[in-house]
Symmetry: C2
Subunit: 440 residues, 2 copies
């Protein structure tokens, strides 16, 4: 490639991670005089807030994900690389992905979060969270198979385990999953089985703290709890989990037999901090400078769930989408300003409020002075989520899916995919088998 | 369970397979005085004709599949069992699924087809067909990853292999896949890459016989060929494949380097014939009596792709949906008639014609005296496929997906799912790497 010796070289910006934060930076740099490379281990941007709906069979993966290339295709300065980053060489200024090396002048790490198990990493085998599409379809498979197996299970104790679903973690994620599970069991599957009654499935939501949704005000936490209990969810607050295994969950005072434990209780940062050897907090988030750069590396920025950023009260900002997006806009503007020779004041976050939905028609909203619960909150939640989806097509599809589910109570993606399920080995041929031919 | 000793026991009907054939029998028996059990190794009914659209990222799996339980939920006499059948005990009259045994008075085997490799079973590792949802998402992953890898491939020979796609088999399936692949490469992906030009991807359709679509009349085969060539597909007829391996396809006179071979050239019956020890044809299909029962077992029926049924000219009926559906209706009526003490004349098939689509706006239709090609044929194909989908929701979703793809040329399900792709190991850091930062 011949270079004109007096043409200034364009700055090379590399963004690792195409979630809310990374994609916001990329789009904000669309017209910047730079060469942009976006690196992600998946070929799609995922709208994570709705992932639990894939796990509970209401939406398909493609409804909430868009190929990164399609999102960025109009940006002539952008290139997309599907790769898994393995480290950063800060001396040579290169991102390492396997044997591949990607040089940068400015680097943005927006690699998100992983689940954390508070020192009980062995629980991860039994209590999986949902962070990726494959997590969600795997959980969907697990949930639907539990009902299928329960239908022909003779042992009432095992049937009880199959029809019990335990969600650990009472934040927005846990609340939303619990509500959706209740809808699935009590509505969508209600008349589909002959031996079992899915409406009797037990759904338990466990929270270690004194109330659900700790980021909301108390009366909204109460509204959420009531809505869940109306849906038949057992809510247990001030309850710690002492153990998880393949047959159940142990609490301080009792044991719940279950084959499906869903983890929504803790997250930690991605490995970005380790790649940099930077100072991190206990969750692994990188303690960034007021301009979101890594101390000692003014050209490396960390944002989103992987960054530890303090707000005006000195508290760390939560790992939610609006935080990542505001940080992304700031970093994009800062990079362009610095290239032009200027600078910006430190980053400041403006809180746009919080939302959480509970099942089909209820939600809680806390936004500036606005406090809502119930139906109106649910409408606002739906509109906001649809608005923030990337891509007109996804918005239309999700809106229609929800309209369908609302009207019909049916869920549009009730598929068990993956390897063919091995039939459980049964050695007895007891009275239960004849039930196959009972007049229902 | 107490039985009244003088109440007649209802006949137990077991259907294995919930495809077109099996599901037609099940639905036709909705009001029959029987106890019905439907057994399938998946929890969903799959609309196979559109599976290639999942493989080419135009539709999501849930758009073309419906849970069997939902389809049958209104039938109080029906029970659904998710299990993989392993054999039939004709002495005791039981279906065997692992250690589970399901007794029957009437048995219907509608277990469909698998791919056949004409004695070259070793090719199956390199040239996969699409028969299930997991086949389709695996192929989708393979195709999309091929483009992703080609984008950063330095070696032009390897890049050529990655950007070459070979479809073996010029029947309706191969033609439809070839057309969809061309649409994907030339439209949906066209501007999404910076180093490669997807519109230059090579798509080759290979047919051993003298023309494509042998079941259609010659002029329609020609129309299909022309449409494919207009889409940039290389059509090779009268060409036999001599070998398949991981780096390409060998023909009699040349070799095509490719990393993606799609098999659409041959099918064989499921193992039902082996379960019964019945007489089968060379494709493993059970040679049934004129009433579709297995010779010697008047209460066991085989239908659909697994059955060898002769038409008025003595030729075996093809493995297509209308055949399975008409056979299913017949068997359901026959079972009810026999239970009531009567009988029916032998099965007779009425041919409703053939359809095949080529890409976005072309198709061929052959129906009674009607011969169509081009746009009108394509509209008819679309309407027919939407009509035959099970479930209003799926019809609406597929219609909207197609409208979207038609208008935008974008494909709605371009996700690479499954295990995270390992980045290819590159040891050289040649000029290609700097291309990442070229001004596009």
């Amino acid at each position: 490639m011949t270079e004109l010796s007096d043409a200034p070289k364009r700055a090379r910006v590399v963004i690792v991670g195409a979630g809310f934060g990374g994609l916001t930076v990329a789009k904000a740099l669309a017209k910047a005089p730079i060469d942009l490379t976006v690196v992600d281990q998946h070929n799609y941007h995922l709208f994570q807030p709705l992932l639990y709906q894939v796990a509970t069979a209401a939406l398909s993966p493609a409804d909430i994900a868009s190929p990164i290339r399609t999102i960025l295709k109009g940006q002539r300065n952008s290139s997309v690389l599907l790769a898994k980053v393995t480290g950063i060489d800060t001396n040579s200024g290169e991102v390492m992905a396997g044997d591949r090396r990607i040089p940068y002048d400015y680097l943005v790490l927006a690699t998100g979060a992983r689940h954390a198990y508070f020192g009980h990493d062995d629980w991860e085998a039994y209590a999986k969270g949902i962070k990726t599409i494959d997590d969600a379809t795997a959980l969907r498979r697990k949930i639907l198979l539990a009902f299928e197996r329960a239908e022909f299970e003779h042992d009432p104790v095992e049937r009880g385990r199959l029809l019990a679903f335990v969600i650990i973690g009472g934040g927005a994620t846990g609340v939303e999953i619990a509500g959706a599970m209740a809808e699935l069991a009590r509505k969508a599957l209600a008349v589909d089985f002959r031996s079992i009654d899915p409406t009797n499935a037990r759904i338990v939501l466990i929270e270690a703290g004194p109330r659900l949704l700790p980021v909301f005000e108390e009366h909204l936490s109460e509204a959420a709890r009531r809505s869940l209990e109306e849906l038949g969810v057992e809510v247990r607050v001030s309850t710690a989990v002492t153990d998880c295994d393949e047959a159940g969950v142990s609490l301080a005072d009792q044991r719940i037999g279950t084959r499906t434990i869903i983890w929504a209780a803790g997250v930690q940062a991605s490995r970005a901090g380790q790649w940099l050897g930077a100072e991190t907090d206990r969750a692994g988030r990188v303690k960034v400078a007021p301009d979101l750069s890594v101390p000692g590396y003014p050209n490396i920025f960390v944002l989103g769930d992987t960054a530890h950023v303090r707000d005006m009260d000195g508290k760390p900002l939560p790992g939610v989408a609006p935080v990542a997006k505001q940080e992304g806009k700031y970093v994009a503007e800062l990079i362009q300003t610095r290239i032009a020779g200027g600078d910006l004041p430190p980053f400041r976050y403006r809180d746009p409020g919080s939302l959480a939905t509970i099942g089909r028609k209820k939600a809680v909203v806390q936004f500036r002075r606005l406090r809502l619960s119930g139906y109106l909150a649910w409408w606002l939640w739906s509109v906001a989520h649809i608005y923030f989806l990337i891509g007109f097509r996804n918005r239309l599809v999700v809106a229609m899916n929800w309209a369908w589910t609302y009207v019909s109570f049916q869920r549009g993606a009730r598929l068990i995919t993956g390897p063919d399920p091995e039939p459980e080995i049964r050695t007895d041929k007891g009275p239960g088998m004849e039930r196959l031919h009972e007049v229902a």
